[in-house]
């Protein structure tokens, strides 16, 4: 319940009027000499209870009548799903805010309540009025359609008169539209964090950014240029594992957006990669671009995973390998490997277009040995990545992965392609058996499949405990609900099994979204209150 004209609530003390009048009347009743009051008392005996009840009833009714009239004057309203009309200013001055304004209009649409989105251009077609008259028109509409909630999205400097509608003025000194960046755990050390800040400032100014990790706090600045809606890039490198909090200190008049981002930098050690064969430029560049996720080692013994690049002669290897079929392998080589290239196909992986040869047939390969000039055979395993038509692009061959990239001389694009690093990362991670999820949040139910019923050690930043698996359908699972964010690992006592995962902050309950729910819609109850007051008045007359 709410009041649309709360200034009338000052009249609420008038509710006590009937009480005051009652008491005053009682006090001021004219004394009247009477010969024999005893008889009157006897007469009132039977009537007393009813008279008292009647007095109380009249008092309550009169109080209620006044209360109802005051509430009606204050325009008591209850929340209802009124239709909404969003009026979007589409003048040129809105250009810097246009995306924000449209997003805001869409947010207003989110609650599933009826909305009539009226954009400015359509609007002017109908009404033929300039923006200067919008406020007047809006106020007129408010009176004409009392059950419609009007939302006006415009720039603040245009609003000169008070508007009886919901107003979203976007002309703040600084408005940060959004902050983009990876909000998940980065499994690297050191970790490169890159944020993109879409914001606009009316003056040249420095946007303070506060980075905190535990008790450690660093303050940095982003220089903003005036009168531009720019996309600023903010890069930083953190080299200590832990939870990081990036807070943008916004001035109070800034458009509220999520100005805080949380990161977790994991403690997983870098994956040691041994490149066998030709360490082509694209591979070395891709690994270097990982900023420490992968470390190239010179000897195969300490390596976690081996990359076989353009191997043309048979090799013997006892480690998981990523087999890259590069440009040095001619089509006939594919045939020799048992891979037939049937057509070129454009596929979309991780949102990036990528030209690849889909594999139509892969033969089995025995163990790790790759006998070149022999056919490979595929035994079991699931492909990791699919093309648009469902064709597997990355094929598991035994314990190895075959990535049939078409690598041309102009492969620099691939190196810088965002697809390559995650592809490499996922593949290598898979091969090193360090698979795990990284997008858990506090309160999630985490279920990890483990090989057997032994007790497994759960280790976290400040936690070490033993979890006993439970059996479901013949398989063993460890179940756990994290209570605090951090990096965790579940490992078997002998270290054969390791499952790394991180738990991030749960953003639920901490929202900097514009709270549309607060802009509730109301139905004014004035008419019903007045009807109730009239009915009570009739009852009062009957009682009198």
């Amino acid at each position: 319940m709410s009041f649309l004209a709360p200034q009338f609530l000052w009249l609420l003390p008038a509710v006590s009027l009937p009480f005051i009048v009652h008491l005053w009347h009682r006090k001021q009743a004219r004394p009247y000499p009477f010969p024999y009051v005893q008889l009157l008392k006897r007469a009132t005996k039977g009537e007393k209870a009813w008279r008292r009840l009647k007095d109380i009833l009249l008092l309550v009714i009169r109080t209620l009548i006044i209360l109802l009239i005051i509430l009606a004057s204050a325009r008591l309203a209850v929340r209802v799903g009124n239709p909404r009309v969003v009026i979007l200013d589409d003048s040129y001055t809105m250009a810097p805010y246009w995306e924000t304004a449209v997003r805001l209009a869409n947010k207003l649409q989110l609650r599933g309540e009826p909305i009539y989105l009226v954009s400015g251009d359509k609007f002017t077609n109908h009404v033929k009025c300039k923006f200067a008259n919008y406020t007047i028109e809006l106020n007129r509409w408010r009176r004409k359609y009392p059950n419609v909630d009007f939302y006006l999205i415009t720039t603040a400097n245009k609003v000169t008169a008070p508007i009886h509608g919901r107003l979203f003025a976007l002309d703040n000194e600084l408005s940060i539209d959004s902050v983009e960046g990876p909000s998940h755990v980065l499994r690297a050390n050191p970790c490169n964090i890159k944020l993109y800040i879409n914001c606009r400032a009316t003056t040249d100014k420095r946007l303070p950014v506060s980075i905190s990790c535990g008790n450690h706090k660093v303050k940095q600045y982003i220089d903003l240029s005036a009168h531009k809606l720019n996309r600023y890039e903010y890069r930083t490198v953190v080299d200590t594992p832990g939870m990081y909090q990036f807070v943008f200190r916004l001035p109070p008049d800034a458009t509220p957006v999520d100005n805080t981002i949380y990161y977790t930098v994991n403690v997983i050690p870098s994956i040691k990669v041994y490149i066998m064969g030709e360490a082509t430029f694209f591979i070395t560049q891709a690994l270097a671009a990982s900023h420490g996720m992968f470390v190239i080692v010179e000897q195969p013994q300490p390596a976690d995973v081996v990359i076989l690049s353009n191997i043309t002669s048979p090799i013997q290897l006892n480690k998981p390998a990523l087999i890259l079929l590069g440009d040095k392998i001619q089509p006939h080589s594919y045939s020799e490997l048992g891979i037939e290239i049937t057509s070129m196909k454009t596929v979309n992986i991780y949102g990036t277009k990528f030209v690849s040869h889909p594999i139509t047939r892969v033969m089995q390969v025995e163990n790790i040995a790759i006998p070149v000039n022999r056919y490979w055979q595929v035994k079991g395993g699931n492909p990791l990545i699919y093309a648009d038509d469902g064709t597997p692009l990355m094929v598991e061959v035994g314990d190895n992965i075959v990535v049939p990239f078409l690598l041309t001389d102009d492969y620099t694009g691939l190196v810088y392609s965002p697809i390559f690093v995650p592809l490499l990362y996922e593949t290598l991670l898979y091969l090193t058996k360090m698979s795990g999820r990284y997008n858990f949040k506090v309160g999630d139910r985490i279920t990890i499949e483990v090989p057997d019923s032994r007790g497994y050690v759960l280790e976290g930043d400040n936690l070490q405990t033993i979890l006993l698996p439970t059996q479901v359908n013949g398989r063993w699972y460890i179940k756990w609900i994290p209570e605090s964010p951090g990096n965790y690992v579940v490992r078997s006592p002998d270290g054969d099994f390791k499952y790394y995962f991180s738990v991030n902050y749960n953003p639920r309950g901490r929202s900097t979204e514009l709270n549309i729910g607060k802009h509730a819609q109301f139905k004014v109850l004035t008419r019903w209150l007045l009807i109730a007051a009239c009915l009570l008045f009739i009852v009062e007359l009957i009682l009198i």
Binding site: Y32, P35, Y36, V37, Q38, L39, R42, A43, T44
Partner: protein, 291 residues
């Protein structure tokens, strides 16, 4: 004589002058009057004969009967005497009420009765009472007594509580002979206190008349919400008369009926006397034309 002048039309007074008040029961008087006396002797009215007894005065022997019957008979006569009337006027505070004021009406009634009785040579005594006997005028049949009564009634102001029983007891003590007691009151006293006293007067074979004076304002309550304050005791009630009108009228009727019925039972002449009634209308039923 303000009351007579104000309230009684001289024509009515002239008319009343021709009337007389006679009581049917016997009264014991000192003077010769118009009322029947229980004493026999020489007087005007022959009653009966009885056998002569030795010692009877010879002048009462009816010689005509002796001539006819040859036996001695003595003539007996009934004595006509005057009566002694006590007029009891309630002067309690409750009488100071109404328009016209109940006390004024009662005083006028008392004055009228005094006038009528003294006119026919009866003795009239006046007793003004409230919670006690406040003034007492011994009975007398002189013209002067009438003026005394008027003067007393004129000068008195209602005061105190109603205690009819005490006044009746006092009169009962005062009455040495059979007489008439006229009670003029609003009877605002519980029945159980008043009725035994009325009965006491009647047991002594006195003639009793009760004039129940009620103001119109008592019969019909005012309309507005008022704080009713008792005239006699320190008591009050805040009430809206419209709320209790029905029950009040019912109770008032029961109150009056209780007196009426009991008076009938004790052979007491009860007269409901609302102050809006002309006073002669109240008195006339008790009078008859002078012979």
């Amino acid at each position: 004589m303000p009351y007579l002048i104000v309230m009684i039309d001289p024509k009515i007074l002239f008319k009343l002058k021709k009337m007389e008040f006679r009581i049917k029961s016997l009264v014991e008087g000192k003077l010769v009057g118009i009322h029947r006396s229980p004493y026999h002797g020489f007087s005007v009215e022959f009653k009966e004969h009885r056998s002569y007894n030795p010692g009877d005065p010879l002048k009462y022997v009816d010689w005509k009967v002796y001539a006819r019957t040859d036996k001695f008979f003595v003539k007996l006569f009934e004595q006509e005497t005057n009566l002694t009337a006590w007029i009891l006027v309630d002067v309690s505070s409750s009488m100071d009420y109404g328009e016209p004021r109940k006390f004024d009406y009662a005083a006028t009634l008392a004055a009228l009765w005094s006038y009528l009785l003294i006119q026919q040579k009866d003795e009239v005594g006046l007793l003004l009472f409230s919670d006690n006997v406040l003034q007492e005028l011994p009975p007398s049949s002189t013209r002067r007594q009438l003026f005394k009564i008027f003067e007393l009634l004129d000068s008195f102001k209602p005061i105190g509580k109603t205690a009819i029983d005490q006044a009746l007891h006092k009169v009962s003590d005062n009455l040495t002979r059979k007489g008439v007691v006229i009670l003029i009151s609003d009877l605002w006293q519980p029945h159980d206190q008043v009725l035994p006293s009325l009965q006491l007067i009647r047991t002594k074979d006195n003639h009793m008349m009760v004039f129940h004076v009620i103001s119109n304002d008592e019969l019909v309550l005012p309309a507005e919400r008022l704080r009713f304050k008792d005239l006699e005791v320190n008591d009050e009630i805040l009430v809206n008369p419209t709320d209790i009108r029905d029950s009040y009228e019912r109770l008032l009727k029961a109150w009056i009926d209780e007196y009426r019925v009991n008076c009938l039972k004790y052979q007491i002449a009860y007269q409901f006397t609302p102050t809006y009634e002309p006073i002669e209308k109240i008195v006339l039923p008790f009078l008859s034309l002078r012979r």
